[in-house]
């Protein structure tokens, strides 16, 4: 009897790993093509993801992005490849759990079909895990949507001056559904404002993105918000320098204070966001 249960467990293990291992091979070709377009903006991340795509790494990456997104004042670029992989895995895991709970998998083994207590426990763990992953994704997406709402006008402006090379175009910053949401929501919000107020105003006062007057009407992210950072560093980075303490570190300068600061690897610092933004984009640091 005991051996039978072990067999079931082993079978389940094999099954889940089989699903997971098939991922990279399926994913790699499509990664290659999409990365071609993305590589101009972020070559470092490309290298990072290309080395190995395992579900575990992806999950860690998602957690990192989730934390970064929640801590940063601005909207960070949308990880479309990672998200599509995560969403697909959630789907697969849901199907898998369904199969296990219906007892389809055990039929192959021609064992007793009764769900054993062990089996139940395993199912419970899998479901709990799945719910948690779903929660992280949900929280991440809601956080982004919140920012999309908050900086609605600012994002619209980003779209207008696309020529500026320093600005990521909107369609790389947002996913397709976020773009759609942004467009639609700003349309209906403007309609509301227009119908109830703006159209009753004299023509010279009808602008709603006036930045000239007393207070700017366009909410911009607070670039000088203080954030906690953890310096992770990437191996063999040419930007790394030998610090005073002999440890490798990055040097950033705070323009307001006219001061250079050394960020040594493994350290935790509080910095204005604008100072460390570039390092964050290159994934050399994490927000915490």
């Amino acid at each position: 009897m005991d051996i039978n249960i072990d067999d079931i467990l082993a079978d389940l293990d094999r099954d889940t790993t089989a699903v997971e291992y098939s991922d990279p091979s399926q994913q790699l070709p499509s990664d290659g093509t999409t990365v071609m377009m993305n590589s101009s903006i972020d070559p470092n991340r490309y290298k990072h993801t290309q080395i190995e795509i395992s579900p575990e790494k992806d999950f860690k990456q998602l957690m990192r992005l989730w934390r970064n997104e929640r801590c940063s004042p601005e909207l960070l670029p949308y990880p479309s490849l990672l998200m599509s992989r995560m969403l697909r895995r959630v789907q697969e895991q849901m199907d898998h759990i369904e199969n296990v709970s219906m007892g389809f998998l055990e039929e192959y083994e021609s064992l007793e079909p009764a769900p054993t207590p062990n089996n139940k426990l395993q199912l419970l763990c899998m479901e709990a895990e799945l719910e948690r992953v779903k929660f992280v994704i949900r929280s991440y997406l809601r956080c982004r949507l919140n920012k999309v709402d908050k900086y609605m006008l600012y994002l619209r402006q980003l779209n207008d001056n696309e020529d500026d090379p320093g600005i990521t175009p909107l369609n790389e910053l947002l996913s397709s559904h976020e773009l759609h949401y942004h467009e639609k929501h700003s349309a209906i919000l403007l309609k509301l404002l227009n119908n109830s107020i703006v159209k009753h105003m004299p023509p010279e006062l009808q602008a709603i993105n006036d930045t000239e007057g007393s207070v700017s009407m366009v909410d911009e992210p607070n670039w000088n918000k203080f954030v906690f950072i953890y310096v992770k560093g990437i191996p063999n980075d040419p930007l790394l320098e030998e610090g005073e303490s002999g440890k490798p570190c990055y040097t950033v300068s705070i323009s307001d204070l006219n001061e250079d600061v050394e960020l040594s690897i493994g350290g935790i610092y509080v910095m204005p966001y604008s100072v460390i933004r570039d390092l964050l984009m290159q994934e050399k640091i994490e927000l915490i």
Partner: protein
């Protein structure tokens, strides 16, 4: 005094915000101040006429009259301020409408509002339209690729797969993977959280 009405409106907006800040369990909007808004809009038109008059006078007089220049400038500032106050008021209200739409996910919010804590007559016509369109947008957003994630689900981290719930209102029978439950007031069940998420949000069940 010019600007007094707008000041009232801003205070009202602030009150609305505090009202929702304190008990962030349920969002509710007080009555839309149609009269106040109309009053301010009238004031703006009046100010507009004044400013035109002052401008004309300046051109006629051709002298560097500091007093009338100042008067003209203050009039313009008043108009600007009124406009900003109106927009701020509307923005606060529309933000609350957004939260309302997220909370009542998927429900026909206009029907849901009747008899609920939020009275439809407290909204202006434009706001009603806005709410409807926004709810449609959310439904569309949730039904796409992200259907598995259930965007409007709980934003507190899940602790257990199964939870104890108490029934607060009769909700009839629900079907789950683990059989059917008959939700009668004051009974308790041990159910899967994801199955009853909706009902908890709608206030039929309470997590214990």
């Amino acid at each position: 005094m010019y600007g007094d009405l707008a000041n009232k409106l801003v205070l009202e907006a602030k009150r609305t915000k505090q009202l929702n800040g304190r008990n962030n369990q349920r969002y509710a909007l007080p009555m839309y101040h149609e009269e106040l808004v109309q009053g301010i809009l009238r004031e703006v038109t009046q100010l507009k006429r004044n400013s035109e008059f002052l401008k004309d006078q300046q051109q006629l007089a051709l002298v560097d009259d500091k007093i009338s220049k100042c008067q003209y400038f203050v009039t313009l500032l008043c108009m600007e301020r009124n406009k900003r106050c109106l927009l701020a008021y509307q923005k606060v209200r529309s933000d609350i409408l957004n939260s309302l739409a997220w909370e009542n996910n998927g429900l026909d919010i206009m029907n849901g509002l009747i008899g609920a804590e939020q009275d439809t007559s407290d909204l202006s016509h434009q706001e009603q339209d806005y709410l409807k369109e926004y709810t449609d947008l959310l439904t569309e957003l949730k039904s796409g690729d992200l259907a598995d994630i259930d965007l409007s689900g709980s934003l507190t981290p899940p602790s257990d797969v199964f939870i104890d719930v108490r029934v607060l209102k009769d909700a009839g029978e629900i079907q789950t993977e683990y059989g059917a439950f008959n939700l009668i007031k004051d009974s308790q069940f041990f159910v899967r959280q994801s199955d009853v998420e909706r009902l908890i949000q709608q206030g039929y069940l309470q997590k214990i």
